[in-house]
Symmetry: C2
Subunit: 104 residues, 2 copies
DNA sequence: TCCTTGGTTCCAGAAAAGTCGAACAAATCG
DNA sequence: CGATTTGTTCGACTTTTCTGGAACCAAGGA
């Protein structure tokens, strides 16, 4: 049974190209996605961001990525596990994620 | 000698991934880019946009795409010729444009 | 030369997005 | 239970982006 702390995630078929591109169009969010390339990660270990960033700001970055369908954000004990939705993105927009992750 | 009507275009090496993604993160701008896929086009023939759109708004859409380096906008007699900067985009962000154009 | 056409620029207001403190929530540990 | 850790959410404020009218500009054509 889903915990009340579960956040909504769009279904694969509801992902919008423009929305995904927008979520990725920010250097901070791009850095998070790049870090997730290696695999799931607890939000606390996002070292790519300025360590002095307020947690509400950080949470907002995650929210934009989640609502666009780029990452999954699930409760995991006291933490939150972030996962890149690679399979869904590849299915809907083949090659896009690879191009973004590979760039530069 | 360059006409004063020439608009500034970023050099290939100055293209920013986040900037390009932002320019593409809008349905209207995406539609313009998709139409340019077939080849250069005069701005007046952008049939993808609502025909009732004010020309200043349309010009703004072009400006965002141009400043991000997605399209070239050059004077051509009484018109403006728009060109997708496919070679520059492919060089800097391989696969990105194809993925965007192919999607859906 | 004047008029029309196709387009940019400027400006101001509206809308959207980002920032961050403070309050709240859930899990864990003592 | 109470304190700590790791977050989310809310609300107010700032900043960015969008929108569209009006002025302007350059190229042709009558």
């Amino acid at each position: 049974m889903p915990s009340s702390a579960d956040l909504p995630h769009p279904a694969r078929e509801d992902l919008q190209l423009a929305g995904v591109l927008f979520a990725l169009s920010d250097p901070d969010r791009l850095a998070i996605v790049r870090q997730l390339r290696e695999g799931p990660m607890d939000a606390a270990q996002c070292t790519t961001l300025d360590p002095g960033i307020p947690k509400s700001t950080k949470s907002h970055l995650m929210k934009v990525l989640r609502e666009a369908g780029v990452i999954r954000n699930e409760p995991n004990g006291r933490h939150r596990t972030l996962t890149l939705r690679r399979d869904d993105l590849d299915a809907r927009f083949p090659g896009l994620l690879d191009a973004v992750l590979f760039a530069d």
